[in-house]
């Protein structure tokens, strides 16, 4: 079995987002970075599938030189090798990201064989475009199921559970397929020290796709005005309990 997972490097924003002076990006000088949360579960699922079925798992990302960190993180968890589509500074829109990934996937499949499954996050944590995985699926002519909380390979098909109001909808589609997943699909493992060591020597293929002019073009970012809450202190420690219950009583809860 061959499984691919596509991830995105995003900053860990913490409590307050600060923008760069030109309002083109988040000021990340003092921030750490991570794989977008939904995709962490995609990585874990890919690793589990290959542990159970044997074969090969590949992680892909489109991002700056530093995105090698996220590829190493994924390989530390058990992904076999990585493909890095390098970018240089400016953001790529979802359409351009998808076409570059399609080209990289086609080239890898021509050399190594078809991916039975390709995982994406349902949407990225930062730009939240809700489209890259779906675009890749259509370009490859494969079925795509989105927003998944459970994935079970059953022979030549895959059973998918999608979270909806009042439970989960089930889809069964033939392999090969493209699946977009959500956090909660599984509980991703922590990387082990030997895993980190092994990741250092795993293969990373670097590609340099050309950035087309985006058709969804970022002009500038802005931090929305606050919600206008003015915190009223009810005091400190257990002595404040009575004031808290007053608030709950006023809300008709006690």
């Amino acid at each position: 079995m061959r499984v691919a997972v596509c991830v995105k490097r995003v900053p860990i924003t913490g409590g307050r987002i600060v923008l760069t002076a030109d309002a083109q990006a988040i000021d990340t000088q003092h921030l750490g970075f991570t794989i977008s949360p939904h995709e962490e579960c995609g990585v874990e699922e890919a690793v589990r599938l290959i542990e159970a079925n044997k074969g090969e798992s590949v992680v892909l990302t489109l991002g700056p030189a530093e995105a090698i960190e996220q590829l190493r993180d994924a390989m530390a968890l058990g992904i076999d090798r990585a493909i890095h589509l390098r970018t240089y500074g400016r953001e790529w829109d979802g359409e351009a990201t998808a076409s570059a990934l399609v080209e990289a996937i086609r080239a890898d499949e021509a050399a190594e064989g078809r991916f039975d499954l390709i995982f994406f996050g349902n949407e990225s944590a930062d730009s939240g475009g809700f489209q890259v995985g779906i675009r890749v699926a259509y370009a490859l002519g494969r079925p795509c199921v989105t927003g998944l909380k459970k994935v079970t390979v059953e022979g030549t098909s895959v059973r998918c559970e999608q979270e909806v109001e009042g439970g989960r909808d089930v889809y069964v589609v033939p392999l090969p397929a493209v699946l977009t997943v959500k956090e909660g699909l599984n509980l991703p493992r922590y990387p082990s020290v030997p895993g980190r060591m092994r990741a250092r020597s795993k293969q990373v293929t670097e590609l340099n796709p050309q950035r087309p002019e985006p058709r969804l073009e970022l002009v500038k970012l802005a931090v929305p005005a606050g919600q206008g809450r003015r915190a009223e202190s009810l005091g400190a420690g257990a002595a404040a309990a009575s004031a808290v219950v007053d608030v709950l009583e006023k809300a008709g809860l006690v």
Partner: protein
């Protein structure tokens, strides 16, 4: 010129309709045109209508079908917009980071595809759109279709619909530490929530997580215990009416974004609140 709305018959679709009217007189295609739900078939049928502009609610399904139309038609797509103006290019304002950032963008497309972020646009009082029916595409488009349903397993109060939520963060300290959170929730008939740090540590199931990648909640009262208030968490709290924050750090972002705060050790404060409620009953 056909402006279309993918209509899920909710308030959010009426908000999408309001933005759509700037682009022409919208007609509506039902999200449930095919039953059970078949998102690829719906996208194929909509693409055949070749709309000059297409709008939908920025819900999971609205975004999904729109992305499928975008992929089929080879067009760009702007998700979760709060504003849109026709022109060449179309200008939009859209949400990033689950609503923690706004992006001003240009959509260079002869046929704009736009979803509207829930509860960000005031619906107008204009007439409802004419409903049009769609033709069934070929059978291949029905490969992706709902074939079953699984009922939720947890019998507790649903987080998304809860009127009151008592929620715990890293400050709760452990899985066992949630006993005092559950006790208070039980007294208030509340749902128990938590932050992402808690589910990542395995203290609570992901179904309890409030936030950008968890559940978005809209309770009357949200009691946050030992939660710092990262943007990931706050993105799930935009619909909360009143927020009570309990934290040892008075400068924690959630303490600065709450309506009421208590500073101190939640392990003393939460049981004291439960005791006070029992006393008054």
């Amino acid at each position: 010129m056909t402006v279309l709305l993918i209509d899920d018959h909710t308030e959010v679709s009426r908000q999408a309709l309001t933005l759509a009217r700037k682009f022409g007189e919208p007609q509506a295609v039902a999200l449930d045109s095919f039953s059970p739900f078949a998102p690829d078939a719906l996208a194929a049928a909509i693409a055949l209508l070749n709309p000059s502009a297409l709008f939908a609610a920025g819900t999971e399904r609205g975004n999904e079908v729109m992305a499928r139309v975008a992929a089929r038609m080879g067009l760009p797509f702007a998700a979760n917009c709060v504003a849109a103006e026709p022109g060449d290019p179309v200008t939009v304002t859209r949400l990033r980071w689950g609503g923690s950032l706004l992006e001003e963008a240009r959509l260079h497309s002869p046929r704009p595809l736009i979803t509207v972020a829930p509860h960000t646009v005031s619906p107008d009082n204009g007439p409802p759109p004419a409903q049009i029916s769609v033709d069934s595409p070929d059978n291949g488009a029905f490969v992706v279709q709902v074939s079953g349903h699984v009922q939720p397993t947890n019998g507790g109060v649903s987080l998304a619909a809860a009127k009151v939520i008592v929620s715990g963060g890293r400050g709760v300290g452990s899985k066992e530490g949630f006993a005092i959170i559950e006790e208070l929730a039980g007294l208030l008939g509340a749902a128990v929530g938590c932050s992402r740090a808690v589910t990542s540590a395995g203290w609570r199931p992901h179904s309890d997580q409030v936030g950008q990648t968890g559940t978005k909640v809209s309770p009357e009262v949200y009691i946050a215990c030992g939660i710092s208030g990262a943007t990931q968490h706050m993105a799930g709290l935009k619909g909360a009416k009143r927020i009570v924050a309990i934290n040892s750090d008075p400068q924690a972002p959630l303490m600065l974004n709450a309506d009421y705060t208590v500073t101190g050790d939640l392990k003393e404060i939460v049981p004291a609140i439960s005791a006070e409620i029992r006393k008054r009953r």
